[in-house]
């Protein structure tokens, strides 16, 4: 880059942001990796180099494997779940057209505009096995054989979490897809109609193929969320019963701040960081190459 007058000015204006972001994000990521190779326990930094000890301890920790599995399950179920439901809602919005779109869009987006702490508390009330609305409804419709312990049953607890998260996120993905659908030129749809395409064909042949980049963008956002999920689960189940709804973000928090085991927490953070990067980097490369 040639240092023209313009470039100097640009650099000058950006410098404060570059320094702040560089320090508070990149330096601290590096610091976190450094801590993960130490044996820091307690509230004073301690940098005795112990190599991969924390990582080896992690590999022997059943909570870690359970957390990792749960994160993967989130990726496998929550991400496609939110994408499919979001797409469905977006198409519904498109079909409804301008008549009710504003109202429905607001309704769909409402869950996402609420804080996780609030929605998690609401869901924890609904899932409550003895007083919750779910079991009460099932009871009153004579479907008590469907009653479940929900979040108190380790076999289904994680699926309860995933269901609630899909509910919260699908409105958001619907909004993204709906913007995508709007960006498709009206003329293409018209042309297809003239050629005699059915509504179904218009969506499968014209709309969906053009939503690819929107799907990819939502996919990355959802993936990153699925990996760093924390607050919702912390409030809803606290990782329980047992290890059944533990995720890496929660484990990192608990072992860092409750156990004051900073090096262990840092090792979990590093693993989380690497996993997120494995997803984000290919995406960024793809977008740049386009």
């Amino acid at each position: 880059m040639r240092l023209s007058k313009d470039n100097v000015l640009t650099l000058f204006i950006l410098s404060s942001s570059i320094v702040l972001v560089g320090y508070f994000i990149y330096v601290f990521i590096g610091w976190n990796v450094l801590i993960s190779f130490s044996d820091w326990v307690g509230l004073t930094p301690r940098y005795n180099f112990v190599g991969f000890k924390q990582y080896i301890d992690l590999s022997n920790d059943p909570v870690f494997w359970s957390s990792l599995t749960n994160n993967l399950l989130l990726v496998l179920l929550f991400v496609p779940g939110s994408l499919i439901l979001g797409l469905f809602l977006a198409i519904l919005l498109d079909v409804v057209g301008t008549r009710g779109e504003g109202v429905f869009r607001t309704i769909f987006l409402l869950p996402f505009s609420l804080s996780f702490v609030i929605t998690a508390t609401l869901w924890s009330w609904m899932y409550d096995p003895s007083l919750g609305v779910l079991n009460t409804i099932l009871n009153s419709f004579g479907l008590s054989f469907l009653k479940s312990g929900w979040i108190t049953d380790p076999k289904v607890a994680l699926y309860c979490v995933i269901l609630a998260l899909i509910w919260q996120f699908s409105g958001y993905t619907a909004l993204i897809f709906s913007a995508g659908i709007k960006s498709i030129p009206e003329t293409q749809i018209m042309a297809a109609k003239v050629d005699g395409a059915s509504g179904f064909e218009i969506y499968t042949r014209i709309v969906l193929p053009q939503l690819k980049s929107w799907v990819l963008a939502s996919f990355v956002i959802l993936m990153v969320f699925a990996l760093k999920a924390f607050d919702f689960i912390y409030v809803l189940t606290n990782g329980g019963p047992g290890y059944s709804t533990y995720v890496l973000g929660l484990m990192m928090f608990i072992y860092t701040f409750f156990a004051t085991h900073f090096s262990y927490g840092a090792a979990i953070a590093t693993i989380l960081f690497v996993t997120v990067m494995l997803i984000v980097i290919p995406y960024v490369l793809r977008v740049r190459h386009r």
Binding site: D39, V41, G42, L43, T44, D57, N60, P62, V63, S124, Y127, D128, P129, S130, G149, I151, T152, P154, A157, T237, N238, G239, G240, P241, G242, Y243, S244, Y246, F253, I254, Y255, F257, F258, A259, T260, H261, Y264
Partner: protein, 443 residues
């Protein structure tokens, strides 16, 4: 937007923007000047996690004593909800590390103090202990729990008992169960079977939302294996997953879980106590802070409900001790010391503890102010053969182990896999090896 506008129009635009900015700045400064915060007042800011009914009333009573003594000091209470302080623990650590420690905060005695003491965030208060004469009225085991490296770092405000079995007396009377038969696990489980046969499907109420409620029950079962075993456990000396006492305790807990409400993971400790109050369950194992819940529910000790040591722990007193301390560099150091004086005073303790359900950490407490449960606890405390520091409540073992212990107990409650839990406990101890710096002498 590519067409160029005439120069004069551009200029008038700029003037408008400038006018808006100037007006905004002037109003902003004006509003700030009028509503700016008053100069630092004479306040005392304390953090604690006493938010449930009985607990809140207790801390308010203690604060009232302080306000009577120092009427010109405004007390700011910052309660952080979450049983056993599991939420506040993390809040406090970040506040203290960022140099924003309040004038005093609630902290469990024992290992929970270690990170703060090690990092130099607490001031030793040996002089205060001397001038207030606390050494002569606070028993030695309790003193040891707030003493690190020969220095006092905190003032105990109460003594809670961890190993209490609470029961709904009306239910036991109805089914002819004599509490004296509950002294052993065999007797206890026989009573549970009897209640189950009578239609009470889940005679034991347990919480588990915070996971520590489960670990709390398991901890008392560990204590029932004998003080030698418990001492080895808190000193990090259990290294064999086949340790017969470890395995036996887990088997007892496994059996115990058969009688526990299946929705435990959705309940907090006080909701579990409420089950006993309502008569949906007959028993719950919880520390004696539960007494406050019975108290606010207008239950009478010895008539509506009763309490006794957890089976197998007769003559033992599981210690859960809350303290306040003097953090380094606080904003109102003088008020912080004044608060500690009130916390350690006879008057302060006798205002706080009768409501809280705990007993005074001082041996000269005014018995007449305490309820019947506490009077019996005071008697037990005096006659206790062994005292042991609770792991779950931050005292007995390093936090690295204590955090794991909650997870292990909670996982065991779902899998009931004895050998996996035994191995997990031994692994957790060995992972925390270097943190066991205190050597407990419990017998």
């Amino acid at each position: 937007m590519s067409e160029t506008k005439p120069k004069s129009e551009k200029r008038s635009w700029l003037i408008w923007v400038l006018v808006v900015i100037v007006v905004a700045v002037v109003t902003g400064v004006g509003v700030w000047y009028v509503t700016r915060p008053p100069p630092p007042a004479n306040v005392l800011e304390i953090y604690h996690w006493w938010t449930s009914g009985g607990e809140k009333a207790a801390i308010d009573a203690l604060v009232a004593v302080f306000e009577k003594e120092y009427p010109d000091v405004a007390v700011i209470q910052s309660p952080v909800a979450g049983g056993a302080g599991y939420v506040m623990k993390s809040v406090m650590k970040s506040l203290v590390m960022s140099g924003e420690a309040p004038d005093a905060f609630q902290l469990h005695a024992g290992y929970e103090m270690k990170p703060y003491v090690d990092a130099g965030y607490l001031e030793p208060i040996d002089d205060l202990w001397k001038s207030e004469g606390w050494e002569s009225v606070i028993p030695p085991v309790v003193r040891d729990m707030v003493n690190w490296g020969g220095h006092y770092y905190a003032v105990p405000v109460n003594i809670h008992r961890a190993n209490v079995l609470w029961y709904n007396k009306k239910i036991l009377d109805k089914y002819g169960i004599d509490p004296a038969t509950l002294n052993t696990w065999d007797g206890f489980f026989a009573a549970c079977d009897k209640l189950k046969a009578a239609g009470i499907n889940y005679p034991i109420a347990m919480g588990g939302q915070g996971k520590w409620e489960i670990a709390h029950a398991l901890e008392q079962i560990f204590a029932s294996e004998g003080i030698e075993f418990y001492q080895d456990l808190v000193n990090g000396k259990i290294d064999d997953p086949n340790n017969p006492k470890l395995v036996d305790a887990l088997n007892t807990f496994k059996k115990y879980l058969n009688y526990v409400n299946p929705d435990y993971a959705a309940l907090t400790w006080d909701q579990a106590v409420a089950k006993v109050i309502r008569g949906e369950a007959a028993f719950t194992i919880m520390g004696d802070w539960a007494n406050g819940e019975f108290f606010v529910a207008n239950m009478t000790f010895g008539v509506d409900y009763g309490a006794m040591p957890v089976p197998g722990t007769q003559g033992m007193y599981g210690l859960v001790i809350d303290t306040f301390e003097h953090p380094k560099g606080v904003k109102h150091p003088e008020n912080s010391i004044r608060w500690l004086k009130v916390v350690g005073s006879k008057e302060g303790q006798d205002a706080f503890n009768p409501i809280k359900g705990s007993i005074s950490a001082r041996t000269d407490a005014d018995m007449s102010k305490y309820g019947p449960y506490q009077r019996s606890a005071m008697q037990d405390f005096k006659n206790a053969k062994y005292m042991y520091p609770s792991i779950v409540h931050g005292s007995g073992a390093p936090e690295v182990f204590a955090a794991k212990f909650n997870d292990i107990a909670s996982e065991f409650a779902t899998t009931k896999d004895v050998s996996a839990a035994a191995k997990a406990i031994v692994d957790a101890i060995s992972a925390a090896k270097s943190e066991y710096t205190k050597v407990w002498k419990l017998y």
